[in-house]
Amino acid sequence: MKRRDFLAAASSCLLPLTINGFGIQSPALWQSMSISGTPVAYGDRVLVLIYLNGGNDGLNTVIPLNQLAAYNDLRANIAIPENRILRLIDNTTMGLHPAMTGLRDLSNDGKLSIVHSVGYANPSQSHARSATIWMTGSDTTQPTPTGWVGRYLDNRFPGYPTNYPSAQIKSPLAIQIGSLTSMALLGNRQSMGMAISDPNTFQQLVGSAPTQPPGDAHCCDAGELISFVRQQQGLAPSYASEIKRAADAGRNLAAYPPSTEQNELAEQLKVVARLIHGGLQTKIYFVSMGGFDSHAGQVDSSDTTKGHHADLLGKLSAAITSFQQDLKQQGTEDKVVGMTFSEFGRRANSNASRGTDHGMAAPVFVFGSSVHHRTIGAVPNLSALSGNAANRDVPMQVDFRQIYADVLNDWFGTDRTLTNTLLYREFPTISLFSEIVETVASGSWTNPATWSVGRLPVASDYVTINTGHTITVSQTVTVKNVKLQGKIQFTGSYSIKLTS
């Protein structure tokens, strides 16, 4: 944007606009701040999905430091004591569970985005149904039979598995560590992912593809099923040598939790890091850990910072931290992002058995060197929960598909129109991968809903007022810089101060 454009736009405002230091930047800066500023081509980018099976208790994961009285009131028998909550840089509203020291450090390093209260409208509290909604990226009322990742890959690699692998696409499109593949990876015809339990022995395990007898299709449903089985039988052997090559070439450079700790997630991420290091082109990795359905005994009776949930969060934190360190040492940090998700959060009220029943929205962690905001959205307001006195739930602020949309658009460089098709409609950005905080609607500057990040811009944020939006400023505000494509209306003698 040119300086005179900004001035012209500014002069159209109703009231005087003052700019501190006149920090309007050259067009190059805006370009460099977009995702294209990172050296990794879209095609080389990797997404790691971490499924926390069972419904993770969000309020004991990211704890509302600013509302501890209400927090203790809701869940006295499982509440984490104030002095044990991990503090984050520049954030007095929330802290982390004491078991997550690794994620605290990652947040302080700017490599963790905590997205608050992620969920969807009309939430289901059934494990299967809600997990299906998250995996398929569908509405509660419109279940679809394909996974969101599966649809993306199906569109990007049409025809799979026919003619795959190819000279250009040698690697599996998606890999799930384990022996099953998730619904998230399900394409229109079949899973777009491949299960790999142990990359060292995979080639030996799957052997060579069977010689198929000449044209002999069976009829009917059985015939279709038999064709499916044949295809599955041939697929794994055709990828085996490339997986072996990557597994042999790749190494883990960072230390992971020792196997004695039985950190299943760390073991899985260790394999992922090794395959990435070995040069596998796979775009999506799916890993998971179970045990989050904590209806009873989620904390120890003598110490609420210990127990089942603390063990899980400790493992999660240690696994992600080791993985991120590994990527850094490999030099692949800027081509990988990861995200956690769980089918739902848990009830804000605890039950009598030191546990929590099924709930609604919960925080999501997005990690990697390419995330730009330590927090997106605000700590849930405990005095504005849904439900009645004994059964309070955290309402959603961010639709989970907003995260998917940012991943597809800004991480994988998908055409926006296509993303909207893959996710069945358009979802506003939450600026996961952009330094720029942008408006998503006209409205007051001080309304969190005006901004892509679900909170007010802070002094370190670049801000874009998008075309067609009119933002009302009723107090003096400070940001790094402003790009004005829409309009700003000042209701009085206020200004926008720029720090750059």
């Binding site: 299960a195 039988q233 794994a236 179970g290």
Partner: protein, 548 residues
């Protein structure tokens, strides 16, 4: 005429085998022969009549501090040191019931497996072997009986009270875990076919309150011998529980039982809850749909919903049937839909059908648990581990919804991934290689040479009887092996490419006769065995073998 009408043609080997593959973990050749010629009604009645067998309890499959190998243990005082061993013994005992079929072959064990995957309890969570044993017996004893009884009993079963936290459910701040699954996965289901919600979140909360106060006793408590459930009135919420319009606004009030005791108060409210759940129009449909997917076809089209699920559900819940399970299952298994060509071969075998099915089909005798315990242990350790590698861990589903391939999009296709396909091949290869020893003189697997020798009359006398042909060998190996028929081009391929490796078919005659003339000659034997092994390994790796 309806596709739910009885199938009236006498069973052929193919349809008899189809029935047995679906109603059991897999048939033997002898059982297929016995059932061939029966009517569907006779066959299914026989399968359910045979189901009333008395069971000998499990015995220890190894020695522990308190028991020696082969001794019963279920009535012994609980001890942590022996528990793991006993738990494994119970699991293997259950697998043995499915595999042995001591009484004439029956449908009870496969149906018990169905209920175990419906009312899931896992031994990872509930590890007291007595709880698991009691739970399995409850399922088995009621599998064919009244669904009302089964539902009532499972709701206060100690293992279930442990698995879904009924034990922790008390007034004031109830634990909703069981109350939700009771509606979502045991009875009404989340939504009806038209997408209407079958129950509300408030119904979950109300049902939880009805069930407050139930508890298990003596879970993993050293020295104890009883595990009966208990009802603690002081933890019971005695206020009214109002349900939504989904349940006709039913109100369940605290009611004294007859006789008026604490326990019967709990029973009375549970009874009222079960009655309410069974009155919900979605309950019989939900159960019938699940039975259809398990026994007939995972795909339910709108036509199937109308023509089968609807009428079957109406019959299930009708006053004259009153939720009896056996008549519903018999109706389904004798229906024209069940025997249709659109049904045969439409499910991918679960690991249990692949593994135990193969052990039965190839007549691998189950060693006696009491008198041949070490061999018994080796036999089922192998089967258990093989199934686990294929993502079927007995009594350890990944969650309360059961094994994914019974509910996830794709259904039975979900069994197959790069890893599990390979594990399936590994298992069937092992059967051909006979590399797993059970006891001296008994390795698991198929004795191909003996098999083919039985095809050859006058083995030693080539002048009297010409050699059996490749075609005869293939015909014998594939008899009742697959649910679908092989085409002629497949048969030619199997002989010329797989068995003969492009040598002329006449070479087989020469080689076989050479072996007949010198059956102790290792070289001649190896040549013949190589061909047979190559053929059988390929057959068992074929996609056709994975479906049933």
């Amino acid at each position: 005429m309806s596709i739910l009408d009885t199938y009236t043609q006498p069973l052929t080997a193919q349809t008899a085998a189809h029935l047995l593959r679906r109603a059991t973990v897999g048939p033997t050749q002898r059982e297929i022969a016995v059932f061939t010629g029966l009517s569907a009604t006779q066959a299914v009645r026989q399968l359910s009549d045979s189901s009333e067998s008395l069971l000998s309890p499990a015995v220890a499959i190894d020695s522990s501090l308190s028991t020696t190998v082969g001794q019963p243990f279920l009535t012994r005082p609980y001890s942590d040191t022996s528990n793991d061993l006993y738990l494994t013994s119970v699991k293997y005992w259950w697998l043995a019931l499915m595999t042995t079929q001591k009484t004439p072959v029956n449908l009870l064990d496969k149906l018990t497996l169905f209920w175990q995957n419906h009312f899931v309890v896992t031994s990872d969570v509930v590890s007291d072997h007595r709880f698991i044993n009691r739970y399995l017996l409850l399922l088995r004893n009621n599998a064919l009986g009244s669904f009302e009884t089964l539902l009532t009993e499972i709701s206060k079963d100690p293992a279930m009270l442990c698995y879904l936290n009924g034990n922790e459910n008390e007034k004031g701040r109830p634990n909703e875990n069981y109350a939700r699954e009771l509606q979502e996965i045991y009875t009404v289901g989340v939504t009806d076919t038209d997408g209407t919600e079958n129950y509300s979140e408030d119904d979950v909360k109300a049902a939880a309150r009805v069930l407050t106060g139930w508890a298990y006793t003596n879970y993993e408590t050293a020295g104890t011998t009883s595990i009966d459930p208990a009802f603690d009135i002081s933890k019971h919420d005695a206020t009214d529980k109002a349900f939504s319009s989904n349940y006709n606004n039913t109100v369940i009030s605290s009611r004294p039982g007859t006789p008026n005791s604490f326990a019967t108060t709990g029973e009375a409210e549970l009874g009222a809850l079960v009655t309410m759940l069974l009155k919900h129009a979605s309950t019989p449909r939900f159960i019938c749909r699940k039975l259809y997917r398990w026994y007939v076809n995972p795909t339910i089209t709108p036509a199937i919903e109308t023509d089968i699920i609807g009428p079957l559900a109406t019959f299930f819940a009708s006053p004259e049937n009153n939720y009896a399970i056996r008549p519903v299952l018999e109706k389904l298994l004798t229906s024209q839909a069940f025997f249709s060509n659109d049904t045969i071969g439409t499910i991918i075998k679960s690991p249990i059908e692949l593994v135990l099915g193969a052990l039965r089909f190839f007549e691998q005798p189950v060693p006696d648990m009491v008198t041949d315990t070490n061999a018994f242990r080796n036999y089922f350790t192998y089967a258990y581990d093989a199934m686990r590698s294929m993502e079927f861990e007995v009594l350890n589903q990944p969650g309360e919804f059961g094994y994914e391939p019974y509910y996830q999009t794709g259904y039975s296709r979900t069994w197959l991934t790069s890893v599990t396909v390979a594990e399936r091949n590994k298992f069937t290869d092992t059967l051909v290689e006979r590399s797993v020893g059970v006891k001296p003189g008994f390795s698991l697997g198929i004795d191909l040479l003996s098999w083919v020798r039985t095809l050859q009359s006058n083995f030693d006398s080539m002048s009297v009887m010409p050699a059996i042909t490749c075609e005869q060998v293939l015909a014998s190996f594939t008899e009742n092996l697959f649910a679908v028929n092989l085409s002629q081009s497949q048969r030619d391929f199997l002989i010329d490419t797989i068995m003969m490796k492009n040598a002329p078919r006449s070479s087989w005659i020469t080689e076989w006769n050479a072996f007949r003339s010198a059956s102790n000659d290792a070289g001649k034997r190896t040549l013949v065995m190589g061909r047979l092994e190559s053929l059988m390994k390929y057959l068992l790796r074929m996609a056709e073998y994975q479906v049933y």
